[in-house]
Amino acid sequence: MISWRTLVTRLAPLLASLGLLVIWQLASLALHNDSFPTALESIRVIPSLLGDPETLINFAASLRRMAIGFAVAVAISIPLGLLMGRSRAVASFFNPLLMVIYPVPKAALMPIIMLWLGVGDLAKTLVIFLGVSLPVIYHSFEGAKAVEEKMLWSGAAMGLSAARRMVRIVLPAALPEILAGCRTGLVLALITMVTSEMIARQSGAGNILFNALDMGQYDTVFAMIIIIGALGICLDAAFERVRQRLVRWSDPQFDIPLSFS
């Protein structure tokens, strides 16, 4: 027997999505604007859009760039962030650089990168890489800084060298924070993926979206927005599953009711 509260908690995401669609539908009907199709009109386009091999090829190209950009960014950012967190010298060298780059919208660099590297995969992957790197570096940095000194001392007393303490103690201890950064990075990868394709219009999901916009196919535009949004939800949910498996040891236990619940 599922309690009423559990049922509401389980159905909440579905109810929220449905609510959003209903508001959209009503707003669209009320405004009666050509560039604002109703939710139903947009959803109706999705099957034919996804049935088109052209769309799938574009999405595959987008996802490939996103995966490469994300993977390379994570592989470089985690060690850098951890080093910054444990070495004041490394931190004071990189911190000013990162603080300058952080607030710059990465897509704004796209035109210059295109001049240098062309409109192909390399330029777009580089922009994704930049977008993902900063939150991952920042969170790895904060995570490594917060590692209890005495945990490292305990490791040192057991005979772990400095390098091994970094890999065997700092990395796992900072993992919850690192993965929080990766989760932000994943969302940013999706955003920079679409915006890079919006500027370098050659292939990809962003390209389909903006081609449709140029041609006034507003139902396709909104259908693409729904698909990209759904993709984001799926990627995030998949990531969250992996994250939970990796850091089960650190998650708070929900065995007492939360305040405000």
Partner: protein, 277 residues
């Protein structure tokens, strides 16, 4: 009064017995505070700890007693003076000196068993052997059945038991205990003191034990090193001449135990030191 004067204590330290496990020679420690002022944490400390002795360092908070322990552990290098272990200068941490911290410092991503196995595995002990030894140690500290628990699932007292087992697992010659029971409630603290004594009385490892509790120091130790408040100096070294094995309930009724506690507390009172926040 069963104590020696400062002068005699210094003389004793100078003429350290040949069996000294740890020797601290004229150690001073200066820290730079956040306002960039030099703070003298320890001033001219000389101390000798015999092999197999249980020695407590007793003092008010902020007297640098933990710093002294960290210097012996090799985690902090002294500004002046030297610390030696079995005649060799201490250059850094090593498995011959096992720390147990007030903050437990367990590896939260590892189960109880994996925490305890970590040291022996690091020393190259085979997995099977490390596991067998660790399981025995976990049972000895009273945590049989909790091998697969994560630290977050344990109470403070249980965490400190794991920390003790984890340190004992790699067979350090000296245990360095930094207010290990300071974060525990009175009841748990008493139980852990009893258990620590039982464990210690089996193999009589050398123990350097930092505490601010007079009763704890007298109950556990062969010798109590009293420190003054900032800058930390050795004020007096007191031999605790009480029979072992010690049982808490018997000791509490023992006039000798009571006299040690009262004498030491009086000495702290007499010093008219102002309470720091």
């Amino acid at each position: 009064m069963p104590s020696r004067s400062d002068l005699e204590a210094d003389a004793m330290a100078a003429a350290a017995p040949a069996t000294a496990m740890i020797e601290v020679d004229r150690v001073s420690q200066i820290f730079q505070t956040s306002s960039r002022k030099d703070h003298l944490a320890l001033s001219d400390i000389s101390l000798s700890v015999a092999d197999g002795a249980f020695v407590s360092i007793l003092g008010p908070s902020g007297c640098g007693k933990s710093t002294l322990l960290y210097i012996v552990g090799g985690f902090v290098s002294p500004t002046q003076g030297t610390a030696k272990m079995k005649g060799k200068p201490i250059a850094g941490p090593g498995p011959d000196r096992g720390p147990v911290f007030q903050e437990f410092a367990l590896f939260p991503w590892k189960s109880v068993l994996d925490n305890v196995m970590y040291g022996p595995r690091q020393q190259g002990v085979s997995h099977a052997e490390a596991e067998a030894q660790s399981r025995a140690l976990i049972e000895m500290v009273g945590l049989k059945g909790f091998e697969n628990f994560y630290p977050k699932e344990l109470s403070g007292g249980m965490k400190q038991r794991v920390a003790l087992a984890r340190t004992l697992a790699y067979h350090p010659e000296v245990l360095l205990m930094d207010e290990p029971f300071g974060a525990l409630d009175a009841h748990t603290r008493t139980r852990l003191q009893n258990d620590l004594l039982n464990i210690w009385e089996r193999d009589r490892k050398t123990v350097l034990f930092v505490t601010h509790s007079v009763e704890e120091a007298v109950f556990l130790s062969d010798r109590v090193v009293m420190m003054t408040r900032s800058p930390g100096r050795i004020r007096q070294i007191i031999d605790i001449d009480l029979p072992r094995p010690r049982r808490r309930t018997e000791l509490l009724l023992d006039p000798r135990y009571q006299k040690y506690v009262v004498d030491i507390e009086r000495m702290f009172d007499d010093s008219n030191e102002i309470e720091l926040p």
